[in-house]
């Protein structure tokens, strides 16, 4: 079983686009994991400009997912907590139940990025 840093080529391209627009510092694991999560989930990506303002480097507080129990919403809840711990976390069990392989990979890799583990694996350019 191979371990992948990205769920798709689109995920990688979206992530690099957000990093470039945000000009994220490599040491800013909180923001990196958030952008990684948004870039990897199609639902979050379709709302990325409503979730995070890359030009002004902040999240939009008024973004509310349509379905709070959807995988995308649970992923975002964990990512927002890691971005700023004043956001309530979701329990790991609630986060992970019924996740498909792609979203599971996003959860794990976002945690690695947040913790600063193996950062170099994600950046090939």
């Amino acid at each position: 079983m191979n371990y992948n840093c990205y769920v798709s080529e689109d995920h990688k391209n979206n992530f690099y686009e957000l990093l470039s627009r945000d000009r994220t510092e490599p040491s800013d694991g909180e923001t990196i994991q958030l952008l990684y999560t948004i870039a990897g989930n199609p639902t979050l990506w379709s709302h990325h400009d409503q979730i995070y303002n890359c030009e002004e480097h902040h999240i939009f507080r008024d973004y509310k997912p349509a379905d709070q129990y959807a995988a995308s919403s649970r992923l975002l809840k964990r990512a927002l907590h890691l971005y700023n711990s004043s956001h309530k976390d979701i329990s790991t069990y609630d986060l992970c139940r019924s996740l498909d392989g792609s979203n599971t990979l996003i959860v794990l890799n976002a945690m690695r990025l947040y913790m600063g583990c193996g950062l170099e694996d994600y950046f090939t350019k």
Binding site: Y3, S85, L108, M111, M115, G118
Partner: protein
Amino acid sequence: MRQIDFISNEHQKRFEELIEKDRTSIGNNERRQLFYVIAGCDDLWKVKDKIYDFTNHELGMYDPRYLSSSLLNIYRRSLHLYNFHRKDIPTADLSGLDREHKKIAVNAMCIYFGIDTMPVSRNANLVNEKEKMRYEL
């Protein structure tokens, strides 16, 4: 083929010892991640028989109040993954861990999901040969 990344050879030896002692099945990712955490943290390793009852294959009666805050957090996360009725910690509380314990926390999650762990230490022994033989992989 499963690959588990360990922070040291000692960590790997201890993990294999716990798996052997409990005769844990390869599909029991909840228990495997717990043993991975116990084996990687010296203060948990010292009280492994209090944390886990190897005779009855269940959690023991360990009182973790004397653990450091950071170790208590990694331990509580592991207990939550072992049994979701145990309350989880806010993930941001793991940010205070040192580098090695951060790797353990991340790799424990990978084991929980049954996904191969990526080598985070290039010098570590990446393939758990004994485990491969045990499960005939």
